[in-house]
Amino acid sequence: MADPLLSVRDLRTFFYTENGVARSVDGVSFDISAGETVGLVGESGCGKSVTALSLMRLIRPPGRIEPGSQIKFDGLDIAALDEKSMREIRGARLAMVFQEPMTALNPVFTVGDQIAEVVRVHHAGSKKEAWDRAVKMLETVGIPSPAQRANEYPHQLSGGMRQRVVIAMALIMNPALVIADEPTTALDVTIQAQILELLRDLQQKFGTSILLITHDLGVVAETASRVIVMYGGEIVEEAPVSDLFARAHHPYTEGLLNAMPQVGHERERLETIPGSVPPPTKWPQGCRFHDRCPYAWDRCATEHPPLYQIGGGHVSRCHLAVEPERRAQKHEPMVVA
């Protein structure tokens, strides 16, 4: 196989706060091939957004990417790149779509100006050319009467339209990889579906790779070909999307799936995962999920599990991979007891 477009090895991003060192991303490794969509899933605080910002090198003090972390993108070592070269890559080869379309646009400029601004920043054309490209891009992302809309301000557009504008800004330089951080979270369900479809269409059209960050497994099922599940600053499970839904291995993934509403299943209440993500300044000893896990046994409290290969490109950070018989002994998790 050819070299992947993005290759992350042992990425660690720590924040040096007054309450101690927050190990928000703690040894994450994964690849994304050209044209692939990968879903990155987890609860709030599991480190998925920090991972995204690390890839963009947008981590601010007191945070920093620890030495030894490797981010290879498009033949470049992003972790070691100087700020000027990094700026040339951002928005051009590597772009990001932010979560809140309400706040991701500058309120005092027209949307056309803001899209054209990206072209101008990357010296890819005159003012006129940039504007024309912006209008064309607005059409590509499905905004009706784009020449007119380009002259409007963000507050004149609906949430869905704004998210389309944000996507247009990310895609105008035809980047190789787009990181989409919860691109649909702030939108209505119907608009969500439209935006996801748009992302899929654009990916086919431009061959862009997408890293889709979300807490919604439904979104991942619809869009991604591979899923990475994060918990406690590390990857706990990675699998092709169908494989993950068919046979989730890690108890945390299992919990996420059980917390999803399913069509045709009459359930009184959705299941929840008890407890919450511990603060990144003090991850638990052993397995970081053990106090919330319904299968945990003494080994889990002491021995930090490695990523076990369980076949078919499916990996899981759970001792159940080597002691599968334990799955029969389900019990109340520690946090409840």
Partner: protein
């Protein structure tokens, strides 16, 4: 482009709907016209200037009359032409001084708030030091030490000591903006720190800058009048409003017109700028912007309701 003009037109309409804003706009417009053309027009009609002493014996402290609608002062100078010239001098001093302090203050606050960290800490401590200096006393001391200070130095002094407040304000706004998603997004799309600061942060802090500047003009007119009145501002025979007032002090009571007319000019001007500043603040307030867009939100809500039926 068509949209920009509609937006600014609706802004003007909303501004003029503010109580008092219409009158303050008219007053300021009149004042500007008077300040720009008044002195030369008057000189042309009357044939003498603000500093010309007419027949000093007959026309010393003459009360208002047809020939001298505002009367004359103790040196036999025509007060109308002095007050009109004073409009030019006082307005010019305050507008230039405010422009100076706003520019310096905005730049200082922007850099401090945007840089953050130790740069911000150092810049703010320096500012704290400046703020501890009593402005009026400093101005009086400097102006009295330098005898017959040229006008431009006075402007420089007033402007140079007037930017502390605005830089605090801009710094606070910048800190809020710096954390907003669209600034982060601009970085993520490859914009540099400086580009983001000037292109994205600055236009978003212009609202408080405009309000602050308008209110400042009134304040600086008062400050300049006060200084000139105390003899520490413009020098004799320059006809600034404060200086005219000062001329009339010796013989107050009997020659009420020497105090009344420059006093009224100061009062009306300061009032107009303050009312306009308040109106601008109300109109430019982002909460008002949101209020004017509620129809759109309501529309979005109704268009989303069919979902519930499905």
């Amino acid at each position: 482009m068509a949209d920009t003009t509609t937006a600014s037109r609706s802004f003007v309409r909303r501004l003029l709907r503010q109580p008092g804003a219409r009158w303050s706009v008219i007053a300021i417009a009149l004042l500007v016209v008077v300040a720009v053309f008044g002195p030369s027009v008057l000189r042309h009609i009357q044939g003498y200037g603000p500093n010309d002493q007419l027949q000093i014996v007959q026309l010393k402290n003459a009360p208002p009359s047809w020939a001298h609608p505002f009367g004359t002062d103790r040196l036999g100078r025509d007060l109308l032409s002095r007050v009109v010239t004073g409009a030019q001098i006082s307005l010019a001093i305050s507008v230039v001084a405010v422009a100076l302090s706003i520019t310096v203050g905005t730049a200082y606050g922007l850099v401090s708030g945007y840089a953050g960290g130790w740069v911000d800490a150092v810049m703010m401590r320096i500012l704290d030091g400046f703020l501890a200096i009593p402005r009026v006393l400093l101005l009086i001391a400097l102006a009295t030490m330098a005898d017959r200070m040229p006008l431009w130095k006075l402007v420089l002094l007033i402007g140079g000591t007037g930017w502390f407040g605005v830089s605090r304000l801009i710094r606070a706004e910048t800190i809020v903006l710096r954390r907003s998603t669209f600034i982060e997004s601009a970085h993520a799309l490859g914009a540099s720190m400086t580009r983001t600061m000037w292109r994205h942060v600055l236009p978003n802090v212009l609202t408080p800058v405009i309000v602050f500047a308008t209110l400042s003009v009134g304040n600086v007119i008062l400050l300049e009048s006060g200084l000139s009145y105390l003899g520490a501002g413009t020098k004799i025979p320059t006809a600034s409003w404060g200086a005219i007032f000062n001329d009339g002090m010796g013989s107050a009571g009997d020659v009420w017109w020497v105090l009344l007319f420059p006093g009224l000019a100061i009062l009306i001007t300061v009032l107009a700028f303050n009312v306009l500043g308040d109106a601008l603040r109300d109109v430019l307030d982002p909460r008002h912007l949101h209020a004017s867009h509620t129809p759109q939100i309501a529309e979005a809500a109704t268009s989303a309701t069919p979902e519930k039926n499905g």
